[in-house]
Amino acid sequence: MRYLIAVILLLLPLCASADDWEERFVFNEGAEGPQLRVISSTDTLLFAPFIEGFVAENPLISVEYLVTGSADIDRRVRANPSAFDVIISSAMDLQLKLANDGFALRLEDVEVPPWTQWHHSLFAFTSEPATIVINRSAFEGRALPETRQDLIEAMRERPDMFRGKIGTYDVRESGLGYLFATQDSRVSETYWRLMEIMGGLRVKLYCCSGDMISDLVEGKIHVAYNVLGSYASAQAEGQDALEVILPSDFQTTMMRTVMVSSATQSVQAAQQFLRYLVSDRPNESTTQSPLPLLVAEDTVSEQETIGLNPALLTFLDSLKRKKFISAWENAVIQ
């Protein structure tokens, strides 16, 4: 017993120092210059090429890369804004609210198209649609669903096949899941019908894209709804079983955004990092990057993408959120 307590006491500081990060990496450790603390919702695997490219160009700067969920990012930054220099997240609404509330540093001379930035403080650098990822084995001999309506019909046809075998975000925990859900609900009533059917089939709820895709790869679920295509493609590499479907009825496209914390101590380095991501990155990285980077000249994506504007604050209103969550729970948790 005493031994056990001693072990717990020994381990506690370790836990505290690890600070419950999903992932934590330091790039270019031991560099003479400043160390940037980058908090992000993007898995290290997908983001590492950018940081490696950045530290190769700026060998004096080291980068500590911390990964956590998008909702957690919002909480941590609000609690302690000076702890982070650069904030990267896929939850555009939370990021915009952070910027609106003054947590982002205004950078006047970053050359980007107006629609990919907000208030010169929040900058988008990827364009990623929400997709339906399915395990082909579940649709053997049948047409793959192309729209949400197709998916609904497929699930109605074979409820037994899909019961307990569908996954989507738990919008109460995932910031990105909430963003996708609210945007879907704005566009079409189909979303609610889909949620009701999924709820009826005991949908499995996930906090993060990564877990959802792992379960999909492992065959624990057949269908993952509203998962980021970039994650699916990256993790499903060499897995022929997985099919990433861009729904053809309507697409919800998110932009990953980055901002420099207004409380940062290393303004110069943090700015350099942001510029590297949004405007100064080398051209070849656009084609090689695991993340679908934003192409400034792409006017089509401007129309399909969720707009970076104050309307994103709407669903973050506590009353509105409460109402949406309760409607969602009514549909999904039965």
Binding site: D101, G102, K320
Partner: protein, 455 residues
């Protein structure tokens, strides 16, 4: 006459400066007025959007199952999108208690249903425009007051204001330049009227003292009236002095002629030699006085006429021939011959009385000094210039005095013993000057004087 008047300031400059100064003040006023009006309009625009947004939020408030629900429409914040990405803050209060949004955003006073208030205030270090709106909801036996405050930063507004200020400045500058050009134009047309009057005064003939009849602007009428009355008086006084000269000539000459005829008659009657000598001297003195008086009056008359030269088209040959005919008896008395040579006709525009006087004096002079039995040659020609030349075979001018002889009352040293006043050549000189010509005195190489009146 040619004294330049004392100049103090310039009407044109004063006019231009006043107009340009006025235009500058107006341009500045225009700039300020346009800017403040545009600022009001721009602020009104922001207020309207804030109103619409807050109205849509209030509209979404409802009581369901005794619970307050505010389903903020997506458009409520979407419509607050501006080119400058202005920040948005809102707060929702129920019966004075904060329920959602940003609790720093306060509603200072309870807002009545229809009476929304706008205010400019500060939020998180930025100036914002805030609208406060309220609504009373009635549920089942329960009444609740909802208040919504909505604030927006003013980056887009100040950008718009910058743009408007720039445009208003361009407008003001444009207006000023236009007004400046106009004022130059107005000043020069106004002064142009004065210049026109000046020109018409300058261009008038010396004898033209008639009133101005051309229409002038009303403001210049008093000036022209004064000018006309001045010229009327001048005309009158000139007429009087002309009359006076004629009268004086008549009054002096007539008694002298009477005295002379008495002296002549007495000369015939007295026989004693010394008495006759005395009387002869007396007659000569009277002749001299009469001639001097005549020439003096001629000279006065010429001075007067020369100042107011009255040109007529005349033929100098006819004029000279007429004189030669009249003077021939006097020449014959001295056994001299007058010979007129030169062109057949020399038309010229000049004052005939003056020219006649000048030529008569020139011939008179020649007759006085020419030796007996010689010829005085009068030559009139138009080539190379219009000139009348009188030459004699007398002793000529004393070469050391030749430049002084045309002065008033100046006589040559060799003139002693000859009747004369010293005004003859002066008169000829004055006439030449009045016509813009010269009088040239010279001695001929073969002997004898030569006087050339060039016109």
């Amino acid at each position: 006459m040619t004294d330049s008047p004392t100049v103090s300031g310039s009407l044109r400059n004063r006019l231009v400066l006043t107009l340009i100064g006025g235009a500058a003040i107006l341009a500045i006023l225009l700039f300020l007025a346009v800017r403040s009006y545009a600022a009001r309009v721009a602020q009104q625009g922001q207020d309207n959007i804030l109103s619409a947004s807050v109205a849509s939020i209030l509209d979404a408030a409802a009581i369901r199952d005794g619970q307050l629900e505010i389903d903020i429409p997506y458009a409520a914040f979407s419509m607050l999108t501006t080119p400058s990405d202005d920040r948005v803050f809102y707060a929702i209060y129920q019966d004075g208690a904060f329920i959602s949004g940003y609790d720093e955003l306060q509603v200072d006073e309870p807002v009545a249903q229809a009476n929304w208030t706008f205010q400019s205030t500060e939020m998180r270090g930025e100036s914002i425009r805030q609208v406060n709106a309220g609504r009373t909801l009635v549920g089942l036996g329960k009444q609740t007051q909802i208040e919504v405050a909505l604030g927006q930063t003013q980056d887009a507004l100040s950008q718009t204001m910058d743009q408007i200020s720039r445009n208003a400045a361009f407008l003001g500058i444009g207006f000023f330049l236009l007004a400046a050009c106009l004022s130059f134009w107005v000043a020069s047309t106004t002064i142009g009227q004065l210049n026109k009057l000046t020109t018409s005064v300058t261009r008038r003939g010396p004898q033209d003292l008639s009133p101005f009849r051309k229409p002038v602007p009303r403001e210049m009428a008093p000036l022209v009236t004064s000018l006309n009355s001045l010229m009327g008086r001048l005309d009158q006084s000139l007429g009087q002095s002309e009359d006076f000269i004629a009268e004086a000539a008549h009054r002096v000459r007539t008694p002298l002629a009477t005295v002379r005829s008495y002296a002549e008659a007495t000369l015939h009657r007295v026989e004693r030699k010394e008495n006759r000598e005395a009387l002869r001297a007396m007659v000569r003195a009277i002749d001299e006085s009469s001639r001097a008086a005549g020439q003096l009056l001629d000279h006065a008359m010429i001075t007067f006429r020369a100042d107011h030269l009255e040109r007529e088209d005349i033929d100098l040959v006819v004029l000279t021939k007429d004189l030669v005919q009249r003077l021939t008896p006097i020449a014959e008395m001295r056994e001299l011959t007058l010979s007129l040579t030169g062109a057949r006709a020399v038309p010229y525009s000049g004052d005939p009385i003056l020219l006649q006087n000048a030529v008569r004096n020139m011939i008179d002079n020649a007759l006085k000094y020419a030796p007996v039995d010689s010829t005085v040659v009068i030559d009139v020609r138009a080539d190379p210039n219009v000139q009348i030349k009188v030459s004699d075979a007398g002793p000529g001018f004393p070469s050391e005095e030749i430049d002084m002889l045309t002065r008033r009352f100046e006589r040559g040293q060799n003139a002693t013993g000859t009747i004369g006043s010293g005004l003859g050549l002066t008169i000829a000189q004055d006439v030449a000057t009045a016509h813009g010509g010269t009088l040239e005195l010279s001695n001929k190489p073969e002997g004898g004087a030569c006087v050339i009146l060039s016109l």
